[in-house]
């Protein structure tokens, strides 16, 4: 909890909006991903021709306002929503039309926005975690649950027997991250996972994510509308506007030297705490 710089690598600036498949160490590559809702005149292109690569061991942040398609993109990556067109490559294999979701979800897990409605209020934490039995089988042991909870800074004895309403907001979100980590995934998607938390808690949850990256080499896709949070955690930033990827690149470059008008406007509107001259 003290002031200590986080070890952050600054990858080379590739600058292009189609920061794509060329990245050799990419865990996930999306090529021209598109999702259309509705048909005919009512069709809405929620995600429109988005290409990107998520490099291993990095936090990539998708920044966008409401309706930008960032959550739709996350749900496609989670295979909770089919892709309309485009290609999704995970760990070198094309998974666009993969139907075997059980195996996929051992690799890709998620944490969602609302730390209360993400819980089944009738289940204790133990039961919530034990539900992974279908994915993990005999691998699911008490020790593994304890380990997952420890990774997010929770003592198993304190939380395993509790119901969600007996946990604080920060604890709930930590439990949700622990649930995802139980699968030992290689990709964690955090969809606005800190938006509903107070600022004082937000930082501690974000620190859990950066620690997972730094210590366990976890690849994380962080989705947010808040550029401040993106600035704090990201290695790479993708800016989404109305379903289209308008800018992408290393976090420092995109946030402090934006090239697209939309990104510039977005940054200009963010209220600051201090005058930046």
């Amino acid at each position: 909890m003290s002031t200590e710089p986080t070890g952050r690598t600054t990858p080379a600036d590739d600058g292009s909006a189609s920061a794509a498949a060329d990245a050799g160490d990419a865990l996930v590559v999306g090529e021209h991903l598109t999702r259309v809702f509705g048909r005919g005149d009512a069709a809405v292109r929620a995600v429109d021709d988005v290409s990107f690569a998520l490099r291993r061991g990095e936090i990539t942040t998708v920044v966008g306002e409401s309706g930008s398609g960032k959550s739709t993109l996350a749900r496609m990556l989670l295979k909770l929503l089919p892709v309309t067109s485009g290609r999704l490559v995970f760990d070198g294999a094309d998974v666009t039309d993969r139907t075997d979701t059980t195996a996929y979800w051992r690799q890709v897990q998620a944490v969602f926005q609302d730390p209360f409605s993400a819980f089944n209020q009738f289940f204790t934490v133990r039961r919530l975690l034990a539900r992974s039995r279908r994915l993990l089988g005999a691998e699911l042991t008490e020790a593994r649950m304890v380990e997952a909870l420890e990774q997010v800074g929770l003592a198993a004895g304190d939380v395993l027997g509790r119901y969600p309403h007996q946990l604080s907001g920060g604890q709930r979100q930590r439990v949700m991250i622990a649930r995802a980590l139980l699968m030992r995934p290689s990709l964690l998607i955090a969809d606005e996972a800190t938006s509903m938390l107070d600022a004082s808690l937000r930082a501690t949850i974000l620190n859990v994510l950066t620690d997972l990256r730094d210590r366990a080499g976890l690849t994380i896709l962080f989705i947010t509308h808040d550029i401040g949070q993106a600035c704090y955690v990201s290695d790479q930033v993708l800016v989404l506007s109305r379903g289209r990827l308008v800018e992408s690149g290393p976090a420092e470059r995109v946030i402090f030297d934006p090239r697209h008008d939309y990104t510039r406007k977005l940054l200009a509107d963010v209220p600051r705490l201090h005058d930046t001259g």
Partner: protein, 302 residues
Amino acid sequence: MSAARFSARFYVAAGIVAAVLLFGLVAPLVFRTHQVGDVVGGLYDHPSAHAWLGTDNLGHDVFTNLMYGTRTSLLIGLVAGAIATLLGVAVGTLAGYRGGAVEEGLMGFTNVILAIPSIVVLVLISIALGTRSTLTLAVVLAVTSWPWTARAVRAQASSVRTREHLDVARLSGAGTFSLICYDVVPYMLSYICMAFVLQVSGAVLNEAALSMLGLGPSGGVSLGIMLHWALAWESVRTGAWWAFVPPTLLLTLLAFALLMLQSSLDELFNPRLRRHARRRRTARPAALPLPVERPVPEGAAE
């Protein structure tokens, strides 16, 4: 959420329902002077110390009939209500949860059933069955009344479907059956509870209607059958009020109490309907036109 606050209405309604239940289930064990079918007097004897509510057209004790009749009516109401709720919840949940073609198919079927006047079906099925036991009558009543529950439950299920905890459960590998049983249905329990109360009251009244038409359970006595005989033997014209007033009162009381129970449960489960909230809504035009949300103690919402 700590212990919920029950309204006075709830206690009154629950009290009446409990009293009727006690009357139907316990009273026959206490008041054993007469048995069903015993002839204790003549045609429409006046109430007396011997037969507290007089006798019916066959000389049977009306009070004894009332106890056993209440028991039969309640039994049919509860069994029919349970079956109808079960069917309705199963169809409604499946439709609401799956959506798409499954939903359209199931709801289409439900609407077809709804469109058929249930009393006609009841009459036809009852006739076709020849001898009708209490249980068969309950099943017949259930089969014609589940669609209302199905429709209401479908709406609930499709709103629960969008909650984040279902996605979380899916990502944990939970299958469809497990999702429905543990993640959807528990969230509708309060609603299902209310639907059940409504179904029971509907079934009690429908049983009475059928029995009055002479289509009641054979070889027994129910509140409806008592009314059937009272009407057939002209108790109204002859002024033998004790033959038809007690069963009518009991039916009315039971149906009224069940409906009141349902609406007070509704008030309990949907705090927006509570009394002061309603008063607020009518008072609003005098203040701001904007609905002012009542602040909830922050943190208490967690």
